[in-house]
Every structure is written in C-alpha cells, then in structure tokens.
Symmetry: C2
Subunit: 280 residues, 2 copies
C-alpha cells in the first residue's frame, strides 16, 4: 500500500485515525516555491480530503524557519498544542464531538538533596541569592529532560555546593499548582550521603552561603517544607537520640529500584518507587 | 516611576532583569495599523534599547489571532518556549553567556486506582479498548491541570467504571522517559475504597470490560507494573492470609496531608506526601 504524502512529506498515521505532518521534511524545491497564499489553498483542499476520509485529528509540526505558515493553519481552525525551542506543534480536532486530544505536560519536577554526612553527623544547608526571604534550605533545582529523581538531586547538589553524593532514598514530596508558566510542580527531597570527602565549593551565581550543621542546629535554621522533610528524615532514620518526640520512628522510607516487566510479548525495565526499610 | 510600555502595552518586569510583553493587550487602534513590516522595524528598535538598558531576557506572548507576527520575532532571534491552545510564548536570551531560562514542563502525570472493596474482599480491574496488548489492569489516566494525585484517581475510576471512591494512600509510582510528545511520565497508583455501593457502568469509548476479582484471582490476571503494585499493596496492607511470601509485611504506605508552612513573613498551606502507617 502506498504511503500517504502531503507536499511530498510522508504522513505519519496513529491508532486514533489521526495524522501528523512534520514540515521540517518539506523538500527544498517545494519549500522555495511555497507562499502564504499557495499554502492556504493547499490546506483548504487537504482538509476537505481528510474530512472525507474520516480523519479525526490533524497534527502539524512547524519548524521556526517556516513560522510564516502558522497563521494559515490558525485561519483554518488549528490550535497551538505545544512548542520546543525550534518548532511549534499545532492540532485540529475534526469530529463534531468533545476533543480527545491528550494535553501536553503541565507539571515541572524539582528535586532537593538532604545531604547527611554520617561521619561528622552534619547536614548541608544553603542560602540562595535572588530569593524573596533569606533562609537556610536544602540545595536543589529543576529536573532536566530525561533525568531520574536521584540524578537531579546529585547533579544540583554538586553544581550548587561542590559536594559529590550518592542517593539513599526519597524522604517526602510536595505537589502544588502555583509553579512557573502556570504549571503544577512536584518537589521531591532525597536523602543523599557524600560519596567521598570533598570541600564545599559554592556556585557563585546562585548560592550566597553553604555550611555543614549539626542536626539540632540545622533543625532550628529550617522552616516550611524543608523543616517538615527534616523531621521526616529524623523519623525515617530513627534519630531518637536527637529528638525525643520522634519515638514513634517509622524506620521506613521511599526507595527506588528497577523492575523487569513483561506485558504480553513486550518486555521492559521500569524505574519504580516504593516504601522500604530505611536501614537497607 | 512611570511604567515601561511597548505598543502601549504595560511591560511586566521580573527579578532576573527580564521583561514579558503580552500582545493580547495591544490596543485595537494600534493592532489595526500593525503590519509585518512595521512590526519588524518596531522590534529592531526595541531590541536595541533593551540591550542598551541591560535587559537579560525578553518574553513575547503571542495570541493566535496575531500569529502572523511570530515570523518577525523568529527573524530577530527569538525561540519558541511553550504554547497553550490560544497562544505561543517566545523568548530571547540577551547576554553573551549560557542561557539561564527555566525550561517548560516536560513530564506528564498519570494516576491509576487500585480499588479494593473490603466488604466483598475484591479488586476492580479493567480491559482497555485501543491497547496493543489485551490485559487486565487498574483503571486510570492523565491528570488534568491543577488536579491532586488522589483526585485524578477518583475521577478516572468514576469515568471508566462508574464506581465512586475515596482515597486511602499511594502504593507506589513509576518514572519513565518514554511518554507521549517526547515527555517523561510519572504514574502513581493509589489505593481507593468504594465510597458507597455502586454498580459498574463502564465508559463505552475507552473500556472493553470491567469486573471485581478476588485477591488471588486478580493477582493471576495482572502483569508488569500493575502486578508489582498489587504485591506492594498486599505487603503494605498486610494481607498475609492470601500470600504467605509477604510475611515481611511493612504495614507502611505513602499518605498525603496538608501542612501549614511559614516562610519568613509568608504563610501557605502545602500538600505533602510521606511514609505513614497503612492502617491509619
């Protein structure tokens, strides 16, 4: 069966009877002759055909260099769906019923590191530049694309404080709906331990101060969610000597592991997070 | 001090010495006379001034109806940042150093519901339409914008199966980097219990089959991450009668609560998730 083409670009079909056209692949000889007016006629005719053929959803990926064509798609009822630095994705839902187009991501992921050095029995805290309130807190920041939770914590602690760490567990997490760009936000705090003896070297752009504190002193310096997490840490890791009120120590934390999953004929490794003993 | 204006739109400044201009607020009398050519000259002159004034980052929010202006911004070195249905956000980083522009969200959030009815001692499983492999699994789906984890589970279970539930805890979660639109994905599975006696009414569009299963039968039907979560549930809720191999039952799960946080002069309520006793 011959593959469907649009402006000589191979059209990608999906199981929902939708199609995706990536204008990045438009051949040079067609692109050089394409004007806003000729594209307008092409879209008008193509839409007629797609509707006749029962297509439900049309996606157009428009690279930056063809951004003058976006207004044509908007004119024909396309809406923006998402964008990355060098393209924008537009979509048009055809059926006369509520759209079933999956929404793009609307949640940012941040990770902090509660770094505890069991040799000196101290916790690493920082003060940020550019913060509304001067306070001590755990180092941390946003996840990069494709990064696991523990890897973000380790990277951010290294960037902000110079200390190289390994992951022990996730102590707690927070979910709010007041993040940047109108997004929701998850903030995980991981327990990390130093991987080797290393000196504090703060990031000059982001960090004002960074120090190791004994547990009782750290606790006095912390506030808000950071304080909550610190007390969870004391509970999960049974620091009853320091805090008598945590006699009901749980001794359990959140740990990550890879499981080998089978789904019918498909196998895959999956990173999962569950409640586990904290001393493991 | 007089507020900075651009095309008579009030310019929003931020603490990083950046500015945001929302073209939605362009006055009608200016918009009606604006052409691609005149906008090109305006942007050229404005950029010169912004650079002289030491601006670090320029944001333009362009509504759909002004999409013909996007190509002018691209020409002057702007990049796409993110888009929602009716606008696209473009950004230009001015300093001659690595960009420090925060990235947009790149993680979708999905939630499943392990519905256990303690009266009939059964678990609710579904089979989806449109899935590559026919298998029994927990009902669930993507979070809507602004939704808490438990609320997504409750909504999706109601939509897919008709059963109204309340949240008990989060059993486990998975993190992968192979989601739709090139996103990463979190998938949380919540333990839910029916809120009242209700009959199964499946969603005709999404669901092929939905049934209550005894624990041992459910376990035989499940695979992959769903099976892993089910065994975590048996462990966390100490079902040692059913599964002898779970004698090392932890009796702990992940629960959510609201904490009242104080950050200097600022107070706020925050939704947090931590390890707690499962019988609570």
């Amino acid at each position: 069966m011959e593959q469907e083409k649009f402006l000589n670009i191979t059209v990608k079909t999906d199981i929902y009877n939708g199609i995706t056209i990536d204008l990045h692949y438009i051949p040079d000889e067609i692109r050089s002759e394409l004007t806003v007016d000729s594209f307008d006629t092409i879209i008008k005719d193509a839409l007629k055909l797609w509707i006749e053929n029962g297509r439900r959803c049309i996606w157009f990926k428009v690279p930056s260099r063809l951004s003058h064509l976006i207004s044509v798609l908007i004119k024909h009822g396309f809406e923006f769906h998402h964008a990355k630095s060098n393209f924008v994705m537009l979509v048009k839902w055809i059926p006369n019923e509520e759209t079933r187009i999956p929404k793009f991501a609307h949640t940012t992921i941040g990770v902090g590191g509660l770094v505890y050095d069991p040799v000196i029995k101290k916790v690493l805290l920082i003060q940020e530049k550019n913060s509304r309130v001067k306070m001590w807190k755990f180092p941390g920041g946003y996840s990069e694309s494709g990064e696991d939770i523990g890897d973000t914590a380790i990277r951010e602690v290294k960037e902000e404080t110079g200390i190289e760490c390994t992951l022990k567990s996730i102590i707690s997490f927070r979910h709010n709906h007041t993040g940047i760009f109108g997004c929701s936000d998850f903030y995980f705090v991981c327990l990390l331990v130093p991987a080797k003896q290393s000196k504090i070297e703060t990031c000059q752009i982001e960090i004002d101060d960074c120090q190791w504190f004994p547990l009782d002193e750290a606790r006095q310096h912390l506030c808000g969610f950071n304080l909550y997490v610190f007390e969870e840490f004391l509970r999960q890791y049974s620091f009853i000597d320091y805090c008598n009120e945590f006699k009901d120590s749980s001794g359990m934390t959140i740990k990550t592991e890879i499981i080998h999953s089978q789904y019918g004929p498909f196998k895959r490794d999956e990173r999962v997070y569950s409640v586990r003993k904290s001393e493991q």
